[in-house]
């Protein structure tokens, strides 16, 4: 997650000090990704070093320094809005890794893993939905964050249904054979498809 760009974007609204930035960030994202003040000040320090923010004046009576965007900082924010969020790096997905290992190792009850996960994800999805029901419709930003989590859970349940349907069509032996073939012929995409046949 880009804390750097989030802070720069918030400073478009006007100068703010660290605690204010943290509060604004959490308020707009419903506290879904909590920041600690230390992280905020460390990031502000780097942004100042890189010439993207500067202090907006002397410290107030409580010793807090407000920061504002420099011209370079302003163009960095514009750039952030313009460029899509990168998908070049695949974040490590523990569930995908767990199931990839489960279908290739003997003696693992894959169906059980799938069902246990589906129940847990469905419980989480229900709880998120309950939270959404309690939202009064006045906080669009917060509801959109909540809905992004809801859609992610939904996608996971759909994927688990898909996994279950796939493993129902193949035997563990076939999955193992597929893995062996893949190791034996690196660079060929074919064996990956064999699993579904």
């Amino acid at each position: 997650m880009s804390i750097k760009h989030s802070l720069l974007a918030l400073l478009q609204d006007g100068p703010m000090y660290g605690a204010q930035l943290r509060q604004e960030f959490e308020q707009r994202t419903g506290g879904t990704w909590p920041l600690n003040v230390g992280q905020v000040y460390t990031t502000l320090g780097r942004l100042e070093r890189d010439g993207l923010v500067e202090s907006a004046g002397a410290a107030d009576e409580e010793g807090r320094i407000a920061y504002r965007l420099t011209e370079a900082g302003r163009s960095e924010v514009l750039q952030w809005w313009t460029v899509p969020v990168g998908r070049e790096q695949t974040p490590r997905n523990e569930l995908a890794i767990k199931l990839a290992l489960a279908v290739t190792l003997p003696g693992v009850d894959v169906q059980r893993i799938v069902q246990t996960q589906r129940t847990a994800t469905m419980t989480h999805l229900r709880d998120l939905t309950r939270l959404k029901r309690s939202a009064d419709g006045d906080d669009l930003a917060w509801e959109l964050v909540l809905e992004s989590l809801i859609f992610a859970d939904e996608a996971e349940v759909r994927w688990l249904d898909h996994v279950e349907a796939r493993i129902a069509r193949i035997t563990p032996t076939a999955a193992k054979a597929s893995r062996t073939a893949r190791v034996a012929t690196p660079g060929k995409a074919g064996p990956r498809e064999e699993v579904s046949r």
């Binding site: 997650m1 419903g30 506290g31 879904t32 990704w33 909590p34 069902q115 246990t116 589906r118 129940t119 847990a120 469905m122 419980t123 989480h124 999805l125 229900r126 709880d127 998120l128 939905t129 309950r130 939270l131 029901r133 989590l149 809801i150 859609f151 859970d153 939904e154 349940v157 759909r158 249904d161 279950e164 349907a165």
Partner: protein
């Protein structure tokens, strides 16, 4: 929830055919749905979801086990008695809405009560109330063809819950609707349960099942799992990294 569940299935079996060709559509299914509770049933095609709904609604009889509605064992009722219980206590919502095209929304909703011998005036007043509860009272005099998909589905929910009915059984009620309209229908169903109705919802959409209090997973006629207790919001969020 009161002590008496609105719907209770105990050790329900439903087998089609006999001997080697027998198909066990439901095997030892037990579940209860109380007033104010919405329970969703999920499972792949052929897992027994629709059979479960039909057995719960008395449209199909279990091979073994009992189904009770507000403490009344459906097997103890005569055919007319069962019909009466269905008309007065429970309502059905299907993907295929079965609205009668030549009747207006309010006539569709009041029809089950009229068939039950309730006076036209009383039936229409109840229908008006039911349409109001699902938020489409102003559309009462429209024919189904002049209602959107979502409005038709709400009419079907109003019909399912008109009068004193306290149990709604819904089979893929959002099937043909876009996601926003589908969600509005779920919200309507949820509101009806929050007002005291009991609901059993069959769906393959996890986002819709998530409106229920509990989700039951069915596989090959067996309940294999149920969602857990609610997580408090403070532990629900703030973990996403």
């Amino acid at each position: 929830m009161s002590a008496e569940p609105t719907l209770a299935l105990r050790d329900v079996e439903r087998t089609h055919g006999t001997g080697e060709t027998a198909v066990h559509a439901l095997r030892g299914v037990s579940l209860t749905v109380g007033p104010g509770e919405l329970v969703a049933v999920m499972g792949p095609s052929g897992s027994g979801k629709s059979t479960l709904l039909n057995v719960a609604g008395g449209l199909d009889a279990p091979t073994a086990g009992t189904v009770t509605i507000e403490g009344v064992d459906l097997a103890s009722l005569s055919r007319p008695g069962l019909d009466r219980l269905r008309r007065r206590t429970m309502g059905f919502v299907f993907q295929d809405l079965n609205l009668i095209p030549s009747l207006t929304a309010i006539e569709n909703v009041s029809l089950p009560m009229e068939l039950d011998g309730v006076s036209l005036r009383k039936a229409r007043a109840a229908a008006r109330d039911a349409l109001g509860r699902v938020g489409i009272l102003e559309l009462a005099d429209r024919f189904p063809e002049h209602l959107s998909g979502g409005q038709q589905q709400r009419t079907a929910i109003a019909r399912a819950l008109v009068g004193e009915r306290r149990l709604v059984l819904a089979d893929e009620p959002t099937g043909a609707l876009d996601s926003t309209t589908g969600e509005a229908v779920l919200r309507t169903l949820r509101d009806q349960c929050d007002d005291g109705a009991a609901g059993l919802l069959v769906t393959h959409e996890s986002r819709h099942a998530a409106w229920a209090d509990r989700v039951i997973f069915l596989r090959d006629g067996v309940i294999v799992d149920t969602t857990g207790d609610a997580t408090p919001p403070e532990s629900l969020l703030g973990q996403a990294g």
